[in-house]
Amino acid sequence: MTNTLHRYSEHYAFEPAPNPEPVRDDYIVFAMATRDLNDENLVEKYRCFLRLALKHDPVNIGDATKGGMLRPRQDMNPTAHWKRNQHPDPEQVIAGIEGHTTVAAVFDNYEAMRAFVEEVKAADLGISVNISAPMDEAKRCCRDAGIARHSVEYSLGFRGRVDKLPDATTLELSSMCGHGMVSANFAKKMMEWVKENRRSPEEAVRYMARFCICGVFNTGRAERIIKQACTLKS
């Protein structure tokens, strides 16, 4: 499962960009226990991890087996088309953890990630904790928190039939659900709807986030991308 590894940005453009803009609003911290090695009381450990995360105002949290703060519902009624409950629900994520999974918290700023990592270190949960972010920022965070990195994994981007991939803006949006549940066509449709003023950027990203099954879709970054795209192309 490499669901947060290959989040597309200009740095991985197929025609290399001269000065790619740093991504400063996409930091994921996730925790994972290992079966039979450190998974005793894992539900409590995962809940503790996410509760600590909530103190630092994440844009999303998720349980890889259940979803994130925004989820589809099976019991909608037609009033939803006019008045829909759009509020993210972090408590359902925490309450829904049942066993082996990966739990993640997504932040839109470095300081929040750093503060959270420091708290997780102090909590000493004993399960594996990873940062998925620009490597230099993750390294800086480790240094600030007094942590020596254990292992690293680099994304080298995409190869092969990249001509089958959508445009860069759409790819930035759709690759934020690494499991591929946010389709490129849907991301394009949402951008079009924002351009046509049929939905706000906030509403558009909520629709997309509901498809992300592990809750690592960054609604803050997505909103920024849509706003930029709509402004640039108008």
Partner: protein, 273 residues
């Protein structure tokens, strides 16, 4: 996945949400239809869309009236109003599509939800990738293109020829008929999946050669390949992999960092041991 023509009202909401673009409105029947050859059984439509369970006849009537009067109605784009999307019972070999496409289905070979192992995410506990070693995750089909096992085998067979070692606790490896030659079961070669991850290990000094071979092979397949490379850091938290990758001209902007906060607290076999 199937769409029940008796329930479907052809609202078209499910068409763009399919990651494979396998759903369209069939003009002959006026209902949404799934292209079974392209569908990878990811369940994104079934699970990702909210549902209203409305009466199809009533919805068709209202839509018909609105259409007649040219009323424009902007319904929520992620709702199936009549719960028309229906999972079908999957049998071999089609069942592998779901195993490699639906993130909520655990692979029996690993017990992990997803399409690979824990890579280096739990390396602080499993010690899967050791100092001086490089772990490769070669992912086929993502994002949003999909891959057939025939293409995957083309790459795994070629990689086997240069002597790489396939991760044993990996779903693709578990479907190989001969892992020493990278050959995959023949009965699944035409199955299309959303994404599959091949994991291999090599020495750090082999990294340039392995990557070069993967780049060459990527030109021969009909899908996209995303590549991740990992290693264990030294006691100070430094790694020598980045220098190797940058020397070879690869972008290393983003990745994962295992903080080393995990520890073994139980005696057991564990994944990867």
């Amino acid at each position: 996945m199937k769409i029940d023509p008796h329930k479907c009202v052809a609202c078209g909401n499910c068409v763009p949400v399919c990651p494979m673009g396998a759903i369209h409105i069939d003009p002959n029947i006026g209902r949404a239809t799934v292209n079974q050859d392209e569908c990878v059984e990811c369940f994104a439509c079934y699970r990702g869309m909210s549902k209203e369970h409305l009466n199809p006849a009533m919805v068709r009537t209202i839509r018909g009236v609105a259409k007649f009067f040219r009323f424009r109605f902007d319904p929520e784009p992620d709702i199936c109003p009549t719960d028309a999307i229906v999972p079908q019972e999957l049998t071999w070999p089609r069942i592998v599509r779901r195993a490699f496409s639906d993130p909520q289905v655990p692979h029996e070979s690993t017990g992990i939800h997803g399409r690979g192992t824990a890579e280096v995410k739990t390396n602080d506990v499993t010690d899967r990738v050791k100092e001086g070693e490089a772990g490769f995750v070669v992912e086929f089909g993502r994002p949003g293109v999909g891959a057939r096992f025939r293409d995957i085998e083309r790459v795994t067979a070629a990689l086997a020829e240069i002597g790489v070692q396939f991760e044993q606790n990996n779903p693709v490896t578990s479907l190989m008929r001969d892992s020493s030659r990278g050959l995959i079961r023949e009965d699944i070669l035409n199955e299309k999946i959303l994404s599959a991850i091949v994991e291999i290990k090599a020495r750090l000094e082999q990294v340039p050669a392995v990557l070069q071979r993967i780049r060459e092979l990527a030109r021969e397949v009909e899908t996209v390949i995303s590549i991740g490379v990992s290693t264990r850091c030294d006691m100070e938290g430094n790694d020598s992999l980045r220098e190797i990758l940058e020397r070879e001209g690869y972008a290393t902007y983003r990745g994962k960092t295992n903080l080393g906060l995990g520890r073994v607290t139980q005696r057991g076999l564990g994944i990867g041991n």
